[in-house]
Every structure is written in structure tokens, then in C-alpha cells.
């Protein structure tokens, strides 16, 4: 029924209707956005000095996890899961840092492009292994997380390397107005450049299709294996972007994987993507990451014990998912 409504809305093609239709399809994400606004207002009340510079800091600090989460979201939508994202980010980050150190600015551009290609290649390797071995995604990527982390250690034994200045400047500070952090603009452009065209073409639909029902997708003529490899390659691209953002924000590369793998799974689920695949988008997960980070900031303002903040993070994760599954249970009953 909702599909029919959408079609009607599209045929009218009024922007308001289109927006409403989008909101209807992304109710969970819109709810999250509303929560984020409330949370921002709350932050402003408990810490009146929270302003433009804090927003900029927030944008920079969430950037790596947001990119990791987008990467995870694409794989989860295609019906898989990738537990090696943290390792891939570490590997791409150290490759970028070790190659850019002491080199010219133009060379830095080439390094970034090469690292993005490397990310795509790594993702495609993960995907191909999943398709060829027919071993469950979670097992293959778990094992590959050791492999990619080992490769990162081969590139750099200890944190080091450097970053081109333009790369550091790219995410630092504001753009146009002081309320618009450069990091957020970069993020929106990058995600929009890949994701929005993807949703419009056949490939995007195929990714949703194989996540929703492999067999049905196969019988409707989708090449399941190839689509899966491409989904993983896109994951690799975003994980590489995450790794580069780590290098850009810290100025070095660290060969030890950060906590991004499991946090990205958590954020994806909080963002309304079903772990069973085929449902959700990348917008909700991005908002979820910002919310998680903002909650942590608020707890610091309220001088809550950081350990209790970890507890709260776990409880929020469980609580939100519980609410989500309860809503779904009630929906399926009515």
C-alpha cells in the first residue's frame, strides 16, 4: 500500500509531497533527527557556551565513525556484515600516512586516490571470498580482520607517518558560515556523490534486492554474486575514506584498529537498518552516530563518570533496538 502512495506522490512531483513521501519511507530516520534536535537543545541548556566551534569539533570527531557506519550500512543492506572495517581503516590510514609523509601536496592527491582504489580492492577481496567460499559473511570478514590488521602492521610498526596539509585543512574549520563545519560538508558531498546516484540506478536496487531475498533477486535476473562483490567494494571505498579521515584528523597513521567495527554495527542498527538485510538507508545511521557522540559529550558536561557513560552507551544501544523490535512486533500483529 505504501508503495502505491509513493507512486502517486511522485507523479504529482511537488517538492513538499516528495519530502513527505521520503519522510514516510524513512520514519525511523526522521524520528532520530527529531531526537538529535532535542538533544542539541538540551546540550545548549546545560552548557550555554556550546556553539559554533563545538559543532565543528563534533563534526571532525564523528567523521571516521560516520564513514565506517556508511560502509557497514551498505554491506548490511546487501544482507552481509563486515567485521573487518576497523582493520581496513587502520590499513588504509597507515598506507596514506606512510606515503604522504614528507611528500609534496600534489603527490598527496595521488596517494589519496590510490588509497581509495586500494580500499575498493580490499572490499572486493572480502566480497569475492564470501561469494566464492560460500562461508557466512561474518566468519570470512572476522578472519580477514586479522589479515588486514596484520598488513597494517607490515606497513607501519608503530604510529607514524604524516599527512598532506591540504588534507588536514580539508576537514578543519568552517565553510562560509561559522555554523557550517567543513568536515560535515565534505561528508555530505562524499556520501551524496556515491549514495544518491546509486539509489537511482539498477545496481542500488539490486543491492537491496539481494539483501531482502537472495532467491527472489536471483530469479528476477539479478547477478547475486556480482552485486555482493560490488556492495563489498563500496564498503571498502567508504572504509578507505574513513581511514583517510583518521589520517587527516590525527596527522598520522595508527596500525592498531580502533573500535570502529563493532560501533559501526551498533550505529547501523540504531539507524534503522535491519541486520537481516534489505531495509534502511545510510541517512539514519549517520544521524545515529552523531547522537551517540553528542550523548557522550553531554555526559562529560554533566560530569558523569566516563565508565558509567560506557554503561549508558550499552543500555541506549539495547534500549533503542528493543523499542524498534517492539514497534515491529506490534506492526506485524495489527
Amino acid at each position: 500500500m505504501s508503495a502505491a502512495t509513493n507512486a502517486v506522490d511522485r507523479s504529482r512531483a511537488r517538492p513538499v509531497d516528495a519530502l513527505l513521501a521520503w519522510g514516510g519511507r524513512n520514519a525511523w530516520a526522521v524520528g532520530l533527527l527529531g531526537f538529535l534536535v532535542v538533544l542539541l537543545a538540551f546540550t545548549k541548556t546545560i552548557q550555554p557556551s556550546y556553539g559554533a566551534s563545538a559543532i565543528q569539533g563534533l563534526a571532525i570527531s564523528v567523521l571516521p565513525l560516520v564513514l565506517a557506519t556508511v560502509a557497514q550500512a551498505i554491506v548490511v543492506i546487501s544482507g552481509g556484515i563486515d567485521l573487518s572495517i576497523g582493520s581496513i581503516m587502520a590499513l588504509t590510514s597507515v598506507v596514506a600516512a606512510s606515503q604522504m609523509k614528507g611528500q609534496g601536496e600534489e603527490f598527496g592527491v595521488a596517494v589519496v586516490l590510490a588509497v581509495l582504489l586500494l580500499g575498493i580492492l580490499i572490499g572486493a577481496i572480502n566480497g569475492s571470498l564470501v561469494v566464492l567460499t560460500r562461508v557466512p559473511d561474518i566468519v570470512v570478514t572476522l578472519a580477514m580482520s586479522f589479515v588486514w590488521a596484520g598488513c597494517a602492521l607490515l606497513v607501519l610498526k608503530s604510529p607514524g607517518g604524516g599527512s598532506s596539509d591540504w588534507l588536514k585543512e580539508l576537514i578543519k574549520g568552517p565553510l562560509v558560515s561559522e555554523w557550517v563545519p567543513r568536515a560535515a560538508v565534505v561528508l555530505i558531498i562524499v556520501v551524496a556523490l556515491v549514495w544518491i546516484p546509486l539509489r537511482r540506478v539498477r545496481l542500488g536496487l539490486s543491492i537491496y534486492a539481494i539483501g531482502s531475498d537472495r532467491l527472489a533477486a536471483f530469479r528476477s535476473g539479478v547477478s547475486v554474486g556480482r552485486t555482493k562483490v560490488i556492495a563489498y567494494a563500496l564498503m571498502g571505498l567508504f572504509a578507505a575514506l574513513g581511514g583517510i579521515s583518521l589520517t587527516a584528523s590525527t596527522g598520522i597513521g595508527t596500525p592498531v584498529p580502533g573500535p570502529y567495527t563493532l560501533l559501526s554495527v551498533a550505529a547501523v542498527v540504531l539507524g534503522g537498518v535491519s541486520l537481516a538485510g534489505g531495509r534502511g538507508g545510510v541517512f539514519g545511521p549517520i544521524v545515529a552516530v552523531v547522537i551517540l557522540q553528542l550523548i557522550r559529550t553531554d555526559m562529560t558536561f554533566l560530569s558523569v563518570d566516563p565508565n558509567l557513560a560506557v554503561v549508558a552507551q550499552g543500555l541506549i544501544l539495547i534500549g533503542v533496538v528493543m523499542v524498534g523490535s517492539l514497534i515491529q512486533l506490534r506492526r506485524s500483529r495489527t
Binding site: 567485521l83 571470498l129 566464492l132 567460499t133 560460500r134 562461508v135 557466512p136 561474518i138 566468519v139 570470512v140 572476522l142 578472519a143 580477514m144 580482520s145 586479522f146 589479515v147 590488521a149 596484520g150 598488513c151 597494517a152 602492521l153 607490515l154 610498526k157 563493532l262 554495527v265 551498533a266 542498527v269 541486520l275 563518570d305 565508565n307 558509567l308 557513560a309 560506557v310 554503561v311 549508558a312 552507551q313 550499552g314 543500555l315 544501544l317 539495547i318 533496538v321 528493543m322 523490535s325 517492539l326 512486533l329
Partner: protein, 332 residues
């Protein structure tokens, strides 16, 4: 469980390739034992004379905690779940005992740790069983909760100080007559209970049933949520026992002690032939899987390879074994 029935009905000769496949599918332990034997060979070649009764007992001692944690994964994976909170629970249990043993005595300390673990398992089980939270998310969240609370406890206990109880040190690291690890005293009963429980008792069969087809299990009268609540309590208690042994083996009590064992424990269960999708597998293979992982990592260390290469080989071996396993069992 269709496998067992097939082997009765088909009875193809073992010497054919197809027969071998059927044999491997029904008795996954056999190829695993072969692999284990193959791994002992390069260990001997890398350092001639190293393979001895003493070496074997050191390997077993190192593998026991991993095998127990892999047991948690096996049991939860049989129902189609996973338990990522075992690391936090095991560390928490070991740490609780280390901080309490000075003031309260060993028995009380262990009882408190086991109770705390069981409580964690109860909450996880209710989340998974009653509220239908995905096990991956539920155990991930509970892991964070337990870690945070353990850290709070650590700050409370800074003045008291902590130390691993000598009894646990003996249990975790000493060997009877210099050869039999004391940890086997604890581990052998655990193995017997899990193996018998899965094969001979109704509860074990229910785990397979739920993992194989939850709807069919429900329609045939299984109260799924009760089974799952009990399962996650069992898993947490097993993790706590592993935590005691790890703190005894390493003589360290820290709130992140067992974290590095979580992913290997999943890997051990997978190598041992338990399907992460549920309904298929058993604990026997998991034990061999844990031994294989322990011997592999010790072999890679004794070859003098750098950490980086060790990790790469370790991961590749897991992919390779899992792939070979799937290939053999899928279309037999």
C-alpha cells in the same frame, strides 16, 4: 541433524570420494583431527624435539580457557545467536574474584562472581528471548555495560588492591605431577556436561531445534524464550569459569583481560564445524578447533615470525579451513 539419519540410510562405501564426504559431514571431528595431526608435524620440524608430553600439556593448558569461551559460542551459535559479551564477562569474573578474595575469602568471591555473571546472562537472555533483540546487538551492548560497571568497581577498589588467589593460580597454571594441567579438573566435567547435554538431554536438542527452524520449534510446543534465557545464563557462567582460569594462567586481573579471546573463540567454534546460522554443529569439533588455533599461534610464534605475518597467516588459515569445511559438507 539430518546428517545422522542419512549415514544410516545411504551407507555408501567409505573409500569413494562421495563416501568420504558423507563421512566428513557426519563425523566432522575426523578431518579436524587429521588437520591437528598435520599441524603437529611442522611444529616438530620448526624445533626438533619440541613435541613431547610436556609440550602437549602446555598446549592443552593454553587451549582450555579458549575452548570454554568457544563453548559459549558453540551453544549460542546452535540457536542462531552469538555471544560477544564473553570477553567482558570473563574479565569481570576474574577481576571480581581478585578484588574480593582478600577480604571475603575465595568461596564467597567465586560465588559473587558467578552470581554477577549469571545476572548478566539473565538480562541478555531476556533481551534476546523475550524482547527479540538481535543477539549480536544484545551481547555487544551487555559487553559495554559489564565493562563500564567493572571499571566503576575498579575505581572503588583502588585502595583495597587486588591479587589473583593462589588457588586460582594453581588451578590455572600448575600441573599435576608436572604434566597434567589442574585446569582439566575443572574442564573435563564441563566437557562431559556440554557433550552429554547436547546429545542426550532434551534441553540440548531444543537448542538445535530452535536454531534449525524457530517457527517449527515454536509450533511443536517449545517455549523459545525460556530456552534462550537459560542458554545465555549458561553461556555467561561458562565465560566466568573461563575468566577464573585465564586470570590464574596469566596471574593478571584486569577488566579487559579476556577481550582478545572473543574473536578467536568465535573462530574456534566455526573451525570446529558449528554453523553460525544455527542448527548444526557440536562441542567436540569446537574443542579440536580451539586446539588447532592454539597450536597454530604457538607454531607461528616459534617460527620467529613477526606479529604482522602471524596475524595474516592466522586469518588466512581460518578462511581456508572454513572454506574447505563448507565445500566438503555442502554438496555431499
Amino acid at each position: 541433524m539430518s546428517g545422522a539419519v542419512d549415514s544410516q540410510s545411504t551407507r555408501s562405501p567409505w573409500l569413494t570420494w562421495r563416501g568420504l564426504k558423507v563421512l566428513f559431514r557426519d563425523r566432522p571431528i575426523i578431518p579436524l583431527l587429521v588437520l591437528l595431526g598435520i599441524l603437529v608435524l611442522p611444529s616438530e620440524l620448526a624445533r626438533p624435539g619440541i613435541v613431547s608430553a610436556d609440550w602437549a600439556s602446555v598446549m592443552i593448558r593454553a587451549a582450555v580457557p579458549l575452548a570454554i569461551l568457544a563453548g559459549c559460542q558453540t551453544l549460542t551459535m546452535l540457536t542462531g545467536g552469538i555471544d560477544l559479551s564473553v570477553g567482558a564477562v570473563a574479565s569481570m569474573a576474574g577481576f571480581l574474584v581478585a578484588t574480593l578474595v582478600g577480604g571475603q575469602g575465595l568461596v564467597v568471591a567465586i560465588a559473587v562472581a558467578l552470581a554477577a555473571a549469571a545476572l548478566t546472562g539473565l538480562v541478555t537472555g531476556i533481551g534476546v528471548g523475550v524482547f527479540r533483540v538481535h543477539p549480536l546487538i544484545m551481547t555487544l551492548g551487555m559487553g559495554l555495560v559489564v565493562l563500564g560497571l567493572a571499571n566503576v568497581w575498579q575505581l572503588q577498589m583502588v585502595q583495597t588492591g587486588s591479587g589473583v588467589a593462589p588457588e586460582l593460580r594453581t588451578l590455572g597454571s600448575d600441573r599435576m605431577y608436572g604434566i597434567l594441567p589442574y585446569s582439566l579438573l575443572l574442564y573435563v566435567p564441563v566437557v562431559v556436561v556440554i557433550l552429554l547435554g547436547l546429545r542426550r538431554f532434551g534441553y540440548g536438542r531444543l537448542l538445535y531445534a530452535i536454531g534449525d527452524n524457530p517457527i517449527a520449534a515454536r509450533l511443536s510446543g517449545t517455549r523459545g524464550w525460556q530456552v534462550l534465557v537459560a542458554l545465555y545464563i549458561i553461556s555467561a557462567v561458562l565465560a566466568a569459569i573461563a575468566g577464573f582460569l585465564i586470570s590464574g594462567l596469566t596471574n593478571v586481573a584486569s577488566v579487559t583481560l579476556a577481550d582478545s579471546l572473543v574473536l578467536p573463540s568465535v573462530a574456534a567454534a566455526v573451525i570446529g564445524g558449528t554453523s553460525i546460522l544455527g542448527g548444526r554443529g557440536g562441542y567436540g569439533g569446537t574443542i579440536i578447533g580451539a586446539l588447532i588455533l592454539t597450536i597454530t599461534s604457538s607454531l607461528l610464534t616459534s617460527l620467529g615470525l613477526p606479529e604482522a605475518v602471524r596475524q595474516i597467516l592466522f586469518g588466512s588459515i581460518i578462511v581456508f579451513v572454513a572454506a574447505a569445511y563448507t565445500r566438503v559438507t555442502s554438496d555431499a
